[in-house]
């Protein structure tokens, strides 16, 4: 009987871990999914924005001595601006170029940013010093038997859910959101309606990057490890989450992130921790091969 209790508390604890991780993936995946939805580009550099978010928050807290929550909000704003700049510098000139060109640019941008961070911050793993760490985060928020959840997990999850709801409202209830959906369906007609297509795309980048930067700041705090290559793996996994949920759909990103996070943690917990990253890749490949439209996405037909 005790064994059964252990088993189930192990399972529950892993579930908690998985959901937290999934929340992170979902936040990053939103950026991919929104940009892909609007301009059909896999923005490889998105993972790097996540990394920059982590570094910015870290630098603001440790070097400039700004309190974490202020730094958190500043980071989100700076990352949003950064996304817009990225779009303006790298992608806008290629709007009419073949998709391959934009994709290669995205990869190039990703490498460039990653190495830029490497130059600025060095490749050492950075951690928040304990005294600058908001103390409340480490205290357990709830603990039932062996299962525990810290405040930072609660904070992260609630922020994720909150922003997903806000995002959903923005996309479905506001004018700019309607414009975003319009641009994703038909750019020429949108322009004919007087929608500034480039401005809407820039806005999309801003929101996606804000989410990515936010995820970065949160993750930097949660795992307390910030390094220049963190965006690469996380970015790919988040992309897998976006594909899993159905690329182009925000609730899909949420669902995909959650499923992938849980699958990864359960895979590491029950199957093999060596192949932990492999699980995400395998899920991603399987989804792309068998169901490219994802769990809640729609099939995108090609025009002849």
């Amino acid at each position: 009987m005790e064994n059964l209790l252990d088993q189930s508390s192990l399972f529950l604890q892993q579930l908690v871990n998985g959901i937290t991780l999934g929340g992170v993936y979902a936040l990053i995946a939103v950026g991919y999914t929104m940009v892909y939805g609007v301009i059909q580009l896999i923005n490889f550099a998105h993972g790097e924005i996540y990394m920059l978010g982590a570094f910015l928050a870290y630098t603001m807290v440790t070097v400039l001595g700004i309190p974490f929550f202020a730094a958190f909000i500043l980071t989100i704003l700076v990352c949003a601006c950064f996304g817009v700049i990225l779009d303006f510098v790298a992608y806008r000139p290629l709007r009419k170029a073949p998709r391959l060109a934009a994709l290669i640019t995205a990869i190039g941008m990703s490498i460039f940013l990653q190495n830029l961070a490497l130059m600025i911050w060095g490749s050492q793993i950075k951690s928040y010093p304990r005294d600058m760490f908001p103390a409340i985060f480490l205290k357990p928020a709830l603990s039932i038997g062996e299962v525990s959840m810290t405040w930072i997990q609660v904070f992260m999850l609630s922020i994720t859910v909150l922003f997903m709801v806000i995002l959903h409202l923005i996309i479905h209830k506001t004018k700019i959101g309607t414009a975003m959906r319009a641009v994703s369906q038909d750019k020429t007609t949108s322009a004919l309606m007087g929608i500034g297509v480039n401005r809407v795309i820039a806005f999309t980048f801003a929101i996606g990057s804000a989410m990515g930067g936010m995820a970065g700041a949160l993750v930097g705090l949660y795992y307390n490890a910030i390094f220049p290559t963190m965006g690469y793996i996380a970015g790919i996994k988040a992309f897998a989450a976006a594909v899993l949920g159905g690329i182009g759909s925000v609730p899909g990103a949420m669902l995909g992130g959650g499923v992938l996070g849980i699958a990864e943690v359960m895979g590491a917990g029950y199957i093999s921790s060596e192949y932990r990253d492999g699980i995400s890749y395998a899920v991603m490949i399987a989804v792309i091969l068998f169901k490219p439209s994802g769990l809640i996405g729609r099939q995108i037909g090609e025009k002849v």
Partner: protein, 395 residues
């Protein structure tokens, strides 16, 4: 004259919009057949269906008496859907049975329950894919059917050696016997069903555009689709693709037959270019040609695959009077070679001089067919073209 192409009750719809509605037409050997109709009438969609770029929603196509597209009846589709559901229901029994026998004493372990849910959800996904006629579901289904078949026979042969079902005490053979008796034959039946040609066609095992070309149907496109960054000669040589035989090994070893084939192809390609009047520009990039020349190059490329039937999609669009009369001469020359030509044109002027037989489409329906003279005087056609009237048969 033999009928070379026969289209019967062909329909195509995109989502809710019907682009073609029960089109029936035929082309005889050596004829020039015109298809005319205003913009958006579905002419190009018809061509795309013929060359397998689109797959029709209903109807049949026969080319040189060989069925290219066959009709699958609704009953057959319904049968497949029912079979798929049954497959899932059998899975509902199968999964707990499997645990009981093969993973004894661990029935309530978290991992095992998860595994069970996983297997069941894969089976459900498979059913979904199957009823939506997706190709992967077709392939994966066989793996599952074979394993079901194997387990059915295994359980039937190990009837008495199985203990009671874990957690309930009910003798296992209460479950295994009916399961084995139903699942075994059912698996075989479903496999046979899935192998039927018509059913395979539903899952996308159909002739692709390349196979259609190989059969002898070549086409041009409404908005020119040349290989713009390749030379004119190479464009035509690609057209020869289906006539060439050399494989990777021959190419790597540069065997005599491969070299001969290359030489011959180049010569023939130049011949075709002369035929369409482009021999002077054979070594320029296709992108550098003028509009009219590009149109002719597209025709040369299509001719290079040695077709029986040539489909021309608005060849005269964007041409001035002189260019289009040259084009008409060229099409007559092609017909003299014994090639049947099917032309889309919305410009009746060109068509009247050219075609032996004309079909008129209007918003996806065939509204008239006959010789040019008949068409010219057909009131329905005039209405469709000059428009405005309400005297249409449908309304």
């Amino acid at each position: 004259m033999d009928t070379i192409l026969k289209v019967m009750r062909l329909s195509k719809s995109f989502g809710g919009l019907t682009a073609l509605r029960e089109i029936t037409l035929e082309a005889k050997q050596g004829q020039i057949v015109g298809i005319i109709g205003p913009n958006g009438a579905g002419k190009t969609t018809l061509f795309n269906c013929l060359t397998s770029l689109y797959y029709p929603t209903g109807g049949q196509i026969e080319f040189q008496e060989r069925p290219i597209v066959q009709e699958v009846s609704e009953t057959k589709k319904r049968l497949i859907k029912r079979c798929a559901m049954l497959f899932f229901v059998l899975g509902l029994i199968w999964v707990p049975l499997f645990w009981s026998v093969f993973v004894p004493h661990t029935f309530f372990k978290v991992e095992v329950v998860l595994l069970g849910i996983f297997i069941l959800s894969i089976r459900l996904l498979l059913v979904r894919g199957l009823v939506r006629f997706q190709i992967w579901a077709w392939g994966l289904m066989f793996v599952f059917l074979i394993s079901d078949l194997w387990f059915a026979s295994w359980w039937l042969t190990h009837l008495l050696s199985l203990g009671p079902m874990i957690g309930t005490g009910i003798p296992l053979y209460y479950f295994t016997v009916p399961w084995g008796i139903i699942a075994g034959p059912f698996s075989i039946y479903l496999m046979l069903q899935l192998f039927l040609r018509k059913v395979r066609q539903l899952y996308g095992f159909r002739l692709g555009p390349d196979a259609i070309c190989r059969l002898g149907m070549a086409r041009t496109f409404q908005n020119i689709r040349l290989f713009f960054n390749l030379s004119v000669l190479d464009n035509v040589r690609i057209g020869f693709h289906v006539q060439m035989r050399s494989g990777v090994l021959g190419i790597l070893l540069k065997t005599r037959s491969q070299r001969d084939e290359e030489g011959l192809t180049t010569k023939e390609a130049l011949k075709y270019l002369r035929f369409v009047g482009l021999d002077g520009r054979a070594f320029d990039l296709a992108g550098a040609l003028a509009y009219g020349e590009q149109r002719r190059l597209e025709i040369a490329r299509a001719l290079a695959s040695n077709p029986q039937l040539l489909l021309l999609d608005e060849p005269a669009a964007g041409m001035n009077a002189q260019e289009s009369s040259e084009l008409i001469r060229l099409i007559f020359k092609i017909r003299e070679k014994g090639i049947t030509v099917l032309i889309i044109e919305h410009d009746m002027k060109v068509m009247m001089n050219l075609a032996d037989n004309i079909y008129v489409l209007d918003y996806g329906m065939l509204i008239a067919d006959g010789t040019p003279d008949e068409i010219k005087t057909n009131p329905k056609v005039i209405k469709a073209y000059l428009g405005g009237g309400t005297a249409h048969a449908e309304t």
